[in-house]
Structure formats: structure tokens, C-alpha cells
């Protein structure tokens, strides 16, 4: 789609674009190309000399058990967050859609966690699960479960999954509810007249009709779990215990910023870039189908 009417000034559009392009080139494109270049360099321990090594850093990366462990942690974490966040939000949205009259009230009561920063969400759940003062840790102790996420890796992973899911439910809920409310009432009523109960209507009518929304949300949730949960992990577990919660993004930060491993960190950045590009591609490839209902 193009505009028919345009202005003819020659220099002005460049002037208008300059601030955005300057920021993009200096803080996005240039650092990203630096990462690409550095990912093929190896620096000697004293920083005196660097050597070009082609894909050696990548080979070292995928041969490193710590990195493959971090890949597995990220996969478990992301799919757990995306799946539970979507399932709970879908259930709540279906309920809110069912009780149309009060849907707006429930929406208001459910959307505010979106505004809580990931790091703060982590702190909130830390209060619930802290081994010394946490109410849930205390209750679990009462039924014989010894909760200590500072020592138990599985429990630490569960804690960051809960905090990350809690924050994302609002977002999913909002989009699911919008998707359901945009289904023509006449379709639902026709199904009801034909004798389909609420459950049957949901399974055969509503859920298929909102599948574009579901797919879109799945991608968004994966991106969220990959990249936006750094704050939760850094504030709650710092990747521990014994790297049980070290996701890829946390590892880039630690290896690059604290470990100062230039080439290795750059290679990890490049892997992450490839992941975002793949997810963005998938998102845009299917975007037309989504807009139809959302």
C-alpha cells in the first residue's frame, strides 16, 4: 500500500529519519556486527593479541557441556512458562467470556500483573518461597516437603517458572478474551440451538476459531521466556544452584560481563540472534492469519 499524495522536498525526509537511524546504527547495527566479528576471534589471556579462528568459538561452544546444559534449561524453562501461562490464561478467559456481564470487572482485576517488572515479580514469589519466612515454603514443610531453592536445583527452576508464568498470564488473558469476544454471537447461538453444550462449543467452535491468537501468543510467550525473564533469574537465583537456572541469556551476561570471555560470549550472542530471527520470522509469516480474529 502506498500513498498517492506525497511531498516533494528532497533533503527533509533524511533529516526526519536521522535520529532514528543514528540510534539504530550506533546502538543496534554496529554492536551486532561487532558481535558477529568477535565471535570468530580468540584473544590470548592477557589481551595482547587476537587471532581469527573462523567458527572455532561455535565448535567450542556446542562442545561445552555447560552450554548444552544451559540449552536444556532454557528449553524446559521456556516451554513450561509458555505452556502453563497459555493454559491458565485460556481457562480464565473462557470463564470470563462465559459470564459476559462481569467480564470487564474480571479483566481489570487480572491485567495489572503485566505492569510488574520481571525482577519484582521474582522478588514477590521469593517472599512466598523463601525457606526462612515464605508462607508456601512453611506450608510445604508442614506436609513433609523440604523446600530450599537455594540448594535444590529443581525447586529453583520451579520457582522462576512460577514467577515468570504469573507475570505473563495477564497478557495472554487479554488477547484470548479479545479473540473470544470477537467471535460472532450468532455462531455460538446457532451451535447452542443445535444442542451443543458449553464444553462442546468450546472444543469444536471457540478454540479452533481463536487458534491464530493461540499461535501468535505461543511465539510471543517463547520470546518473553527467552529474553525478558533475565530480571527474574538474576534477582531470585543468579543462575544457581549449580547452574540449574542458567538460561542462555543469563549465561551470555555472566560469561561476557563477569567472566570477560569475549569470543565465547560473542558466539553465544550470535546464537541468540539466530533464535530471535527465527521466532520473528515465524511471527511475521503467520501474522495475516492472526489479524482476522484478534
Amino acid at each position: 500500500m502506498e500513498k498517492r499524495v506525497v511531498f516533494r522536498q528532497r533533503g527533509l525526509p533524511y533529516l526526519l529519519l536521522m535520529p532514528q537511524l543514528a540510534v539504530t546504527l550506533v546502538f543496534f547495527i554496529w554492536p551486532a556486527s561487532q558481535a558477529l566479528w568477535q565471535s570468530m576471534l580468540v584473544q590470548d589471556p592477557f589481551g595482547f593479541a587476537t587471532q581469527f579462528v573462523w567458527f572455532e568459538n561455535f565448535r567450542a561452544l556446542f562442545g561445552n557441556p555447560e552450554y548444552t546444559h544451559s540449552l536444556r534449561v532454557t528449553a524446559v524453562f521456556s516451554f513450561a512458562v509458555a505452556f502453563s501461562g497459555l493454559a491458565i490464561a485460556l481457562l480464565l478467559a473462557a470463564m470470563a467470556d462465559f459470564v459476559i456481564r462481569a467480564a470487564t470487572f474480571y479483566k481489570t482485576m487480572l491485567i495489572w500483573p503485566y505492569a510488574v517488572a520481571p525482577a519484582i515479580a521474582g522478588v514477590l514469589w521469593l517472599f512466598m518461597f523463601n525457606p526462612a519466612i515464605g508462607i508456601i515454603a512453611w506450608l510445604l514443610g508442614g506436609v513433609g516437603v523440604d523446600w530450599n531453592h537455594q540448594l535444590n536445583g529443581g525447586q529453583a527452576l520451579l520457582l522462576v517458572i512460577i514467577a515468570a508464568t504469573w507475570k505473563q498470564i495477564s497478557y495472554n488473558f487479554l488477547f484470548f478474551l479479545a479473540g473470544m469476544q470477537s467471535i460472532p454471537r450468532s455462531l455460538i447461538e446457532a451451535a447452542a440451538i443445535d444442542g451443543a453444550g458449553p464444553v462442546k462449543r468450546f472444543v469444536t467452535l471457540v478454540f479452533p476459531l481463536i487458534s491464530p491468537t493461540t499461535f501468535f501468543l505461543l511465539v510471543v510467550n517463547l520470546v518473553y521466556a527467552f529474553f525478558d525473564t533475565f530480571g527474574i533469574i538474576h534477582a531470585v537465583t543468579e543462575g544457581g544452584p549449580a547452574q540449574a537456572t542458567t538460561t542462555l541469556v543469563y549465561k551470555v551476561y555472566r560469561d561476557g560481563f563477569i567472566g570477560l570471555d569475549l569470543g565465547g560470549s560473542a558466539a553465544q550472542s550470535v546464537v541468540l540472534m539466530a533464535i530471535v530471527m527465527a521466532l520473528t520470522f515465524v511471527q511475521f509469516r503467520f501474522i495475516e492469519r492472526r489479524v482476522q480474529y484478534a
Binding site: R4, V5, L92, W112, I135, A137, W138, M273
Partner: protein, 282 residues
């Protein structure tokens, strides 16, 4: 409602209320904890109802910070967060609306290249280019400054796309009429396009304010000077420092203060918030 099913309706309400309670439970615990005296929140079970130190605790963290971990007062950190959130929101809106205007209303060599350059930023979140971006900011001497906290984050493909979509729907007749009346492009921009964009700007501002306030990794990287700490990133230091002798009542108060402004923005400007959220994803 399509049919009357009292049992199902009751079940739906019950599930929703349960959902709300579970979502709100952590907030309740933290709110209550922030009103206790230190000795009451050392071991579980901690009190589930308010103590008598609510005002006292908040005044203490705002004015002095935590006692033992020498964290510095929280009020200046909230001011930093506010500066960061507002600058990022306004900066993103300003540079995006200008570039969308250029891309939609002008034909010039390099137009598509500019468009794709902006698009690529979608695929390069801070998290994937941590170290090189830090080096650029350090070389420019922008560490520990408001410029370093905000400028590297204000490039925005989503905002540019939103304004581009919106400008496409503005009738061509308006630009035509403006041109016939002898108005130049900037006159058209300020007198016609900008007033028409008000709702979009409001919706974007709400989303971007929350985005800016909740930044964590970036302030963590570029600030080492306490004067530039934001409240969201500082809470991690308070937690780590507090490991030996936790001051949970103060940490709870700081957590409440850190989430209050963005939550209020969402609740008070719900209409804009929902609009912004849905539109920026298109």
C-alpha cells in the same frame, strides 16, 4: 449468555475469583510484610495482617534506605526510574513518529533501506548484544549518565510501524488540501497529523512508560554510580546484601514502591493500555 446454566455460571465465577486471589496473594503478603517490625518477619509463619509500622517503614526506605546494607535512600532511585521511563517513552514516540512520517509521505532514494534498517532492530534486543553495546556506550563516555540509560533504548521498530499503519489510514485528501492551501510538509505534520495521532500517542505512552520503568538489564550494565540506580535494578543488590541479616520488612516496602507507579498507570489508563498493547502487536 447463550443459555441459563446456574451451576456452570457459578463454577465460572468461582474459578475467576480463585484466579484473582492467587494472582493477588503475593502482593498481599508483601504489602503486609512491609508494615511489620523487623523481629516479626524473621521466621515463618509471618503475620497475615497489617502490623503497625506501615508509614514508618515506607518513610524509612524512601529517606534512608535499608539499615544494614547501606543501600542509599529509595526516593532518588524512584526519581531516576521516572526520568528513565518518561525519557524513553517520549524519545521513542518522537523519533518514531518522525521516521514514519518520512517513510509514508515522501519518496526518496534509500527509503526501503531505511525501513528495513529500522525493522532489523526488532530482532536485536539488548539481551543478545550485551557486551558490544556496553563497549559502544563506554567508548562514548555515556556510562553513569541519564543519556546512557535512555538513548540506546529509544530506537523502536514497533512504534514506527504503528505510526506508519495509522498514517496509511489518514485520507489522502487531507494532505492534498494542505498542499493546495500552500502548507509545507512540516506545517501539515504539526497542524494535522500530530493532532490526529493523539490517541495512538497516548496508548503508546502507557506501554512505553511501563517498558522504561521496568528496565533491568540495561541499568545494571551502565550504572555503577549509586546516584543513577533505578529502583527496579537496585532491589537485587538489597536482596544480596541482605542475605546475612535480611531486612524483609524494608525489602517488601521497596518492592511495593517499585511496582506502584506502573500498576497505577495500567489501572488508571486501562483503555489506553489495552489499545496500546493490542495495536503494537499488529
Amino acid at each position: 449468555m447463550v443459555e441459563n446454566r446456574p451451576v456452570l455460571t457459578f463454577l465460572a465465577h468461582a474459578l475467576l475469583v480463585l484466579g484473582i486471589l492467587v494472582m493477588a496473594l503475593p502482593i498481599w503478603i508483601v504489602l503486609v510484610t512491609s508494615s511489620q517490625a523487623p523481629q516479626d518477619v524473621l521466621t515463618a509463619p509471618i503475620p497475615m495482617w497489617f502490623g503497625d509500622r506501615l508509614v514508618e517503614n515506607y518513610l524509612a526506605v524512601l529517606g534512608h534506605g535499608l539499615t544494614r546494607s547501606s543501600s542509599g535512600p529509595v526516593a532518588p532511585m524512584m526519581l531516576n526510574s521516572l526520568i528513565m521511563a518518561v525519557s524513553i517513552a517520549m524519545g521513542k514516540i518522537a523519533i518514531s513518529i518522525l521516521s514514519a512520517f518520512a517513510i509514508v509521505y515522501f519518496r526518496f532514494p534509500g527509503r526501503m533501506l531505511a525501513f528495513w534498517t529500522i525493522f532489523v532492530t526488532l530482532m536485536l534486543p539488548v539481551e543478545v548484544r550485551i557486551l558490544p553495546t556496553f563497549e559502544v556506550v563506554a567508548n562514548l563516555g555515556m556510562l553513569n549518565s541519564y543519556a546512557g540509560l535512555t538513548i540506546p533504548l529509544i530506537a523502536s521498530a514497533t512504534a514506527t510501524f504503528l505510526f506508519r499503519q495509522f498514517f496509511m489510514t489518514v485520507p489522502d485528501e487531507l494532505a492534498e488540501a494542505a498542499r493546495v492551501d500552500g502548507a509545507g510538509p512540516m506545517r501539515f505534520f504539526f497542524d494535522i497529523l500530530l493532532p490526529l495521532s493523539r490517541t495512538n500517542i497516548a496508548a503508546l505512552f502507557v506501554i512505553l512508560f511501563i517498558y522504561g520503568w521496568n528496565q533491568y538489564l540495561w541499568p545494571l550494565l551502565v550504572t555503577t554510580d549509586e546516584r543513577y540506580y533505578t529502583i527496579v535494578m537496585a532491589i537485587q543488590r538489597m536482596l544480596t546484601a541482605a542475605d546475612a541479616e535480611p531486612e524483609w520488612h524494608f525489602i517488601a516496602a521497596v518492592a511495593m514502591l517499585a511496582m506502584l507507579p506502573p500498576v497505577l498507570v495500567v489501572l488508571l489508563m486501562q483503555r489506553w493500555f489495552v489499545k496500546g498493547l493490542v495495536e503494537t502487536e499488529k
